[in-house]
Symmetry: C2
């Protein structure tokens, strides 16, 4: 029997878990709730208990397990130390050492959730076949994960790939969640698209199906597909800001491919029509040939990437 790896994706509401073989085939997937009370003290013990229970169920010994990979929602350095996860009530400590201790010494590797998801998309998702990849998650915010030569770019303090906070617009009156003004996230996230829509609709009275009330990113791109002119104007703005942001990223890391995921990406390849031209307009010519693809693993990117994180260390 091939050895097993556990991939864990720790979110604010649920912990997603997967049992993999070393080829990356998922044998089982399950979830447990994230218990955030007492500053999140129960979270890692809950995860350890769930892994041990799964091992018992499967008749597995420690020696059958390569290790456990885990993605956590906060900056994690190259030693598996998390600096802060406000969302979970966590301060600074070694997730890697603590979880390994709870598992009787089974090896653990920890990374930032967005970075780990990028690794998952490279391994088994939209980025298969590439080693220099930027994963862009257009969800409530804009997250990023940068893979260089097959490895996560963690950064000095675990803040590598925080691409949602690249400054894009100078005269933005609203503040971003991070406190700055004019971050990419304010225009290219799901909430950002809604903001752009709201502003556009307030500008004049031009007819649009969006005036019916739903200004979600999904509603905007559905209207784009239905030929709504106002929705297309909003998509042009979205593409302008995101294209400009991705161009800045490419001038730094020169990737082979951008893999676009998150809720906004459910609109599909129509997004690329709005992003690509703007990207090519602003990027250095040496990075003009970059590819764009949709993420394919959805909510499973984190567990795949976590398993891969562990597997790469063991190899």
């Amino acid at each position: 029997m091939s050895k097993a790896i556990f991939g864990v994706d720790l979110g604010g509401t649920t912990v997603k878990m997967g049992l993999f073989d070393t080829e990356g085939n998922v044998k089982e997937k399950w979830e447990i709730p994230t218990r955030k009370e007492d500053n999140g003290k129960k979270i890692l013990p809950d995860i350890a208990a769930s892994i041990k229970s799964k091992m018992n169920e499967q008749g597995m010994e420690k020696s059958d397990v390569v290790g456990v990979g885990i993605g956590v929602p906060g900056p994690v350095d190259g030693n598996g130390v998390i600096y802060k996860a406000a969302n979970l009530g966590w301060g600074e400590f070694s997730v890697k050492e603590e979880l390994s201790g709870l598992l009787g010494g089974i090896p653990v590797e920890a990374g930032n959730d967005a970075n780990v998801a990028a690794l998952g998309e490279m391994w088994k998702g939209g980025g298969v076949g590439y080693k220099n990849l930027v994963a862009v998650t257009l969800g409530t915010g804009v997250g990023g994960g940068i893979i260089v030569e097959g490895k996560i770019l963690t950064g000095a303090t675990g803040a590598g790939g925080e691409i949602g906070h690249i400054h894009i617009v100078d005269d933005e009156p609203d503040a971003c969640g991070c406190g700055n003004h004019g971050c990419l996230e304010q225009y290219a996230s799901a909430t950002g698209v809604s903001r752009l829509a709201k502003r556009r609709l307030a500008k004049d009275d031009k007819a649009s199906s969006l005036r019916n009330g739903d200004l979600s990113a999904k509603a905007v791109f559905d209207a784009v597909k239905a030929g709504d002119e106002v929705a297309k104007e909003i998509a042009v703005q979205f593409g302008h800001y995101l294209g400009k942001g991705l161009a800045a990223i490419a001038c730094v890391v020169n990737p082979e491919i951008f893999v676009i995921g998150g809720g906004v990406s459910k609109a599909g390849e129509v997004l690329f029509e709005y992003i690509k031209d703007e990207y090519n307009k602003y990027v250095f010519h040496g990075s003009r040939g970059v590819k764009f693809a949709l993420a394919t693993l959805g909510n499973d990117a984190g567990i795949y990437g976590a398993a891969k994180l562990m597997l790469d260390v063991e190899k």
Copy 2:
């Protein structure tokens, strides 16, 4: 006797060369002219001949040499293939293999000159003690070299660290050398500072020592140090654009330190007064603690970095 390494920095006018021991002590430095005629066909044979001649002079055998590192002015991928060096008349070929062939099989490693210089500053210059570093060269243009975990970030097509072409200003009428409009290089290079100065002086008649005619970056920062108010306004603009650009870079790679070199950096630490506040204004909070230092190797950064490039592969 410790083994020897040759470090070569191939420029448009001269080839700088250095003979190092494996600790990074330079034993000898010399230069030969860069003969660009015939599409640069003579360049690598000239370099090989100079290295062989130095080996003869020193009574060295092939077995005494670890190898040769070389930095070249164009995009070079991870396999030592240069894509194009218009400046030298070169098209696409493997610098690594061709130079090694000319040297009877002595190992060669090749990299982009700006990236290699960054490695040099990390090894023996302003970035000693750091492994996640961004070197910024403010010369005729703005070059960059990004070091992640002690290694050059080359990028998919050797265009990693092309930070001079990050888009910074939307309504720039003049074109950058790359063909785009509003690149960082148009404001933060030596020529960029002169442009900013020219524009500022044309705006009104406010008294300034700069009205005497010399608008070089050196003249501007000399005037800043002498308390010239107009020069300070120019420095504020320079710091605004460069701070914003470095903030974008930090949101991507989260370095420990920026090492600032090139002609403009001769102004010294006064530059940081103008860069740091703007950097901190625009960057994601996780990257606010980054350090700033001046490059210290000057024109020797390339030969040091080239030697280190070879040494790292051999280890």
